[in-house]
Amino acid sequence: MGTLFDATFFDTMIASVAVGSLYALIALGYTMVYGILKFINFAHSDVFVLGAWTAFTTTTALIAWTGLSAAGAPWWLGPIVLGVAMVVCGVTAFCIERFAYRPLRKAPRLNVLITAIGVSLLLQNFNQLPPAPGLARTATVSFPFGPTPKTMPELLPDVILNESIIATGTLGGGERRGQVLLDRAVTVLPGRTYRLDVTRQTEAGPVVARFNLNNPPVGEVQAGTPLVTQPLRPPAEMQGLAYVLVQVPAVTIRLVDVAIVGTAAVLMVGLLWLVFRTRLGAAMRAVSFSIENAALMGVNVNFVISFTFVLGACLAAAAGFLYPIKYPSLQQPASDVWVLLGLKAFVAAVVGGIGNIRGAVLGGFLIAFIEFFGETYLSATIGSGLQDIYVFTTLILVLLLRPAGLLGTPVREKV
C-alpha cells in the first residue's frame, strides 16, 4: 500500500459514495414513515426489491417490444424504466398503507409492527411466484418475477469519464497485424492501462472493439514505434480502420457511478426542498409532531400519510432502479442478499437518527463508508468478507453511546 490517498483510497471512496447514496434513498423511506407513524415499516425493503425487479422487467420488456439491441440501449430508456418502477412501487405502498396499516392506526404499535412483518413476507413471496401465464409472453418478460436470478441488461454503456485519448490513427495489416504504429510521440506512464479502441461500422450501428496494449515501453515513445495489443489481436479485416489510443487513469470515474450519485442527489435535494421549503412539507412535519393538532390546522392527515408512504416508495424504487445498473446480477426476490441490503439501509436510518431526514442521508453514506473502507483496509489484518460485521458493530456502538442516533433528538416526555 502506498500513500494514504492512493488509487485504492479513491476507488473505495467512489464505491462508498455510490452505494451510500442508494442506502440513503432507502433509509429515507424508513425514516419518513417512522417520523409520522412511529413504527418501522418492515415492508419497505421489499418495496425496494419490487423496484429493482420492476426495473428489470420493464427494461427487458421495452427491449423486446421495441426490437432494440440489448447492448446499445438509448438514453431515454432509463427515465422510462425509473418512472414505471416509481409508479408500481408508489401504488403498492399506497395500498399497503391504505389496507394494512390504516385500519390499525389506533391499535397498539406492536400489532402494526407484526402486520408490517406480514406484509413484508407477503411481498417477498408474491414477487417470487412463478410468472402468471398470461404475462409471460417471452422468456424474459415476466410478472411476478419468478424464483430464478436474472441479469439486468446494460442501460448505460460502461464508459470511463476521465480517460483521455492520447493518439489516433489507422490500423496496419499484414505482417504488422496486432501491432500499432504510433502516428505521434506519446508519453507512457508506468502502472497505467492503455487501450486501443477500434470502431467498426455494422448494420446495427457502430461497434467498438477494445484491445489492451501489452507492456508498452514506459516513457517517451516515438512516432512509428510498434505497440503490441493483448489479449487478442485485431482481426485481419480491421486493417485500415481508425483507432484511438486511450490512456485509462489510475482512478477511474465511471458513468454508472456518476449516474447513480447524480440521480440520487437530485432526488434527495428535491426531497429536502419538499419537506423543508413547501407548504405540504410543513404539513408533513406538523403531522409527525402531532396528528391531532395538524388536523386542527386543516391538514388532511390521511392524505399526508398516504403521500409520505408513496414518496418513500418512489425513493426506494429509484434505489431499486439504480442498484442493478451498478450490480447487474439480480438475485431472486426472496434472496438473503436483498434482506441484507434492506437491513443495512434500516441500520443507516437508525444510526443517523430514525425520524430525522438529514440523519437518514448521513447514515446512508456513513454505513457505506464503513462497509467499503473496512473491507478495503482491514481485510489484510482482520480478514476479508467482514463488511457486515463492521456495519452492525457500528449500529451497536451508536445505540450504546447515542441511542437516538447521530442527528436524532433524545425522546423527552411531553409535559
Binding site: A282, N293, A295, L296, M297, G298
Partner: protein
C-alpha cells in the same frame, strides 16, 4: 339562528361517559365561555365541535348545518379554528412555519401575508422570534403563537381551550385583553377556562359545566353575580 348550537351533546370515551348532556348556544359576535372544574367536560365539548371526537348523542349545528361525523380538517375549512389545550404548537417547526400552518387552508396569499402582519402586530414578541423553533418559546409565547395561528385561518368561530393555563398573572391579563380585542374586531369566540374570574369578565354569555352536564347558563355578568357560581368557581365563600 345561532352561529353555533350545541344541543344535548353526549360523548363516550370507550365505556366512560365523558359528557352526558351539554347544551350551548353561541350567537354571532359574542364571547361565550364554558366554565367548570377539572373533568367537567369542557375540553371534550370543544373537541366534539372541532371534530376530534365523535359525539355519541345530541347535535352540533354550525350555521344551521350539522357537524357530527365531519373530519377535523373539513370543519376548519368551514370557519372554525381552535387553539388547542396545552397550546399545541409544533415544537419542531419555526414560529413562521407554525403561523403558516394556521393559514394552511387559505389560498389568498396576499391576504394571508396581511393577516400575518396583523397577528404579529398584536403579538410583537412573535415577530422577534419568527425564525426560532416554536419549542424554544416560553409558555406565554407559545400561547400567543397558538392564538395567532388560530386567527390566521380567518375563523368565524374561534375555539380557545384554557388560554391562561400555566401563565404568569401579567401574561394572563395580556392574553385576556387580546381575546377581547379579537372579539371586537368581529370574531365569535367560544372560550373554555378554569380561570372563571377572568373568563366571566370578558365573556358575554357563560355556561357552567358540572360532571358532563351544562347546569347553568346566562349572561356572564349575571352568573358572576350568582351565589352558586361565586361559591363554586370564584372562590367567594
Amino acid at each position: 339562528m345561532a352561529l353555533l348550537e350545541i344541543d344535548n351533546l353526549s360523548v363516550h370515551y370507550g365505556a366512560i361517559h365523558a359528557i352526558k348532556s351539554v347544551s350551548v348556544r353561541v350567537e354571532q359576535g359574542q364571547i361565550v365561555t364554558l366554565i367548570g372544574s377539572n373533568g367537567a367536560g369542557k375540553t371534550t365539548t370543544l373537541r366534539a365541535v372541532s371534530g376530534m371526537v365523535r359525539p355519541t348523542g345530541g347535535r352540533v349545528l354550525y350555521q344551521g348545518r350539522p357537524l357530527a361525523g365531519l373530519p377535523a380538517h373539513k370543519i376548519v375549512r368551514m370557519g372554525i379554528s381552535q387553539a388547542p389545550e396545552g397550546r399545541g404548537v409544533f415544537a419542531n417547526l419555526t414560529v413562521r412555519e407554525n403561523l403558516g400552518l394556521g393559514a394552511y387552508i387559505r389560498k389568498d396569499h396576499a391576504a394571508v401575508a396581511q393577516d400575518m402582519d396583523k397577528a404579529l402586530s398584536i403579538f410583537p414578541r412573535l415577530r422577534e422570534r419568527l425564525g426560532q423553533m416554536a419549542g424554544t418559546l416560553s409558555g406565554g409565547e407559545q400561547q400567543m403563537l397558538a392564538i395567532a395561528r388560530a386567527l390566521l385561518a380567518r375563523p368565524r368561530l374561534l375555539l380557545l381551550d384554557e388560554p391562561s393555563l400555566g401563565l404568569a398573572p401579567q401574561m394572563v391579563q395580556l392574553i385576556f385583553r387580546i381575546i377581547r380585542e379579537i372579539n371586537q374586531s368581529g370574531t365569535t369566540i367560544l372560550l373554555v377556562e378554569q380561570n372563571a374570574h377572568m373568563a366571566l369578565q370578558v365573556a358575554h354569555h357563560a355556561v357552567v359545566l358540572e360532571v358532563g352536564q351544562s347546569t347553568l347558563s346566562g349572561p356572564a355578568a349575571d352568573l358572576a353575580a350568582s351565589d352558586e357560581v361565586r361559591k363554586a368557581y370564584l372562590g367567594h365563600g
